[in-house]
Amino acid sequence: MLRSHLDVELLKLLAAGMLLISFAMLSTRRTQQLITLFAWQGVVLFLSTSLVAHEARLTELYFSAGLTLILKVITLPLILHTLIKRLGAQWDNERLVNIPITMLVGLVLVIFAFGLAQPISQLATTITRHTIGIALAVILLSFLMMITRRKAVTQVIGFLAMENGLFFAATSATYGMPMVIELGIALDLLVAVFILGIFFFQIREQFDSLDLHHLESLREE
């Protein structure tokens, strides 16, 4: 039982680390740092999935963990790094609203998510059911990040982080999704990143900048 107790403590710590990384992603100023944080989020996800697999003795979760490692820790960050180097958008990461207000809104969202998750966690039967609130908070925070940023690259990363949160919610509530669905989602992600990368080059060619408010000039007047 002591080993199990230690595992539960580790899981709680990893979940808290996930939340902290989401907040760090919300507040960072540089795009390169953002991608690194996303990679770290993948690592935390890998560790927690492996731990749940070990606890619940489900071998398919090991596969999910491996897939996460390959896709979200290695492949996607590599693609994104090369993308921003070619686009020349490594540094500045302007925002629509300043940092303290974003933080406060993020905090309120976390409280909202925690409050909502409490009745759900009574119903679930996994050992990690208490971390559903954190998973919901991570999803909401990634959405907030997509809303409050100007450069196009951060919106992609926000979308990917949201998927991270969904995956975390799945593992904590129901011990993972069926393998078919997971492979399908992974393929979708990869394709989406490729297509969005092509879009970025088009946007930059058209407007000479990746700032999204230029897209507003495309509407009919």
Partner: protein
């Protein structure tokens, strides 16, 4: 109240006053070692204090009584703080005079007196330093209050001695709230003690100073007392951090002399570790622009609040 408790109390205060300059010297030593330089010897702070005490005090013509009394008041408040914080034993009679929130108030008193003394001379530097120091102060208070709030929820008390008693006997290894509170506490420690990334203690450019600008006019014994008080403040903060987050080894209530000696040795080891960690943080960070400091403090506040919320969500449900 046991009579020997008064001996421990007095001993702890003398220990703090004696070790504080050594602690600062150790941090400077570690920093120099990390930056590939040679540091002055560990006893350099003591030599500086002795030199300053022997000098004549050069006071500005318009300095008032407040200016001359402020260093003594500062030193007095820091000594009282050292008497309250359980660094070696928890059986301290004076510790019941203040809980953690009163300790925050005590540090605020010291800060206000220093700011008032800085404004006394009436030059631009003193008022600049006072203004910036009060700003860092009011940003740090919510963060450190949330850290103590966390501690209260986890261990059921804000009195530091009870906290140490509870934590040392029921260790809960890696609770995320404790980790978050620790990160926030370290950030507040850096801000309140004028360390990088908030303020550079070794700078000589007046426009970048916060703490140094306030003591620009002081000399001789007044400056010696103020320097000693700052060293004591850093020592106190380090002891608070040790008591809150790594209290194993502190001789809890009713311990014998042997346990106290062990506690003394562990304290010195822990302080050495903390000093090295502080030096590491200082060496890898850059000093922030003054108006980026609110963001730094907001981050500290946020992390502390996250620890609180995570505890309310996770801890309350599992009952762990």
């Amino acid at each position: 109240m046991r009579g020997i408790a008064f001996v421990w109390q007095f001993g702890e205060v003398i220990l703090a006053i004696a070790l504080a300059p050594l602690f600062s010297g150790w941090i400077a030593q570690c920093r120099a070692w990390m930056q590939n330089r040679t540091a002055p010897p560990l006893t350099q702070q003591y030599r500086m204090l002795r030199k300053l005490f022997n000098k004549d005090a050069a006071l500005a013509e318009d300095a008032s009584r407040l200016f001359r009394t402020a260093p003594y008041v500062l030193f007095g408040t820091m000594v009282l703080a050292a008497a309250i914080i359980p660094s070696v034993v928890t059986d301290l009679p004076f510790a019941r005079a203040a809980d953690a929130i009163a300790l925050i108030g005590l540090f605020a008193t010291a800060r206000v007196f220093q700011a008032l003394a800085a404004m006394d001379i009436g030059t631009a530097f003193g008022t600049l330093g006072a203004r910036r120091e009060m700003m860092v102060g009011f940003l740090a208070e919510p963060a450190i209050l949330m850290v103590f709030f966390n501690a209260f929820l986890l261990f059921g008390s804000t009195a530091l001695t009870s906290l140490v008693d509870n934590y040392a006997t029921h260790p809960s290894l890696i609770d995320p709230s404790v980790v978050f509170a620790a990160i926030a506490f370290v950030m507040v420690l850096l801000a309140e003690n004028a360390r990088i990334p908030i303020d550079n203690p070794a700078t000589h450019l007046e426009l970048t100073m916060i703490h140094e600008a306030m003591v620009l006019e002081y000399s001789a014994r007044h400056l010696a007392l103020i320097e000693w008080a700052s060293n004591l403040k850093l020592f106190n903060y380090a002891c608070i951090g040790i008591a809150l987050f790594i209290p194993w080894g502190i001789a809890i209530h009713g311990a014998a002399v042997g346990a106290v000696l062990i506690a003394l040795v562990t304290l010195i080891l822990k302080l050495a570790l903390c000093g090295a960690a502080l030096a590491l943080i200082e060496s890898v960070s850059a000093k922030l622009r003054i108006f980026r400091a609110p963001e730094f403090m907001a981050m500290a506040f946020l992390i502390a609040v996250l620890g609180l919320l995570v505890h309310l969500l996770l801890g309350a449900n599992t009952g762990a």
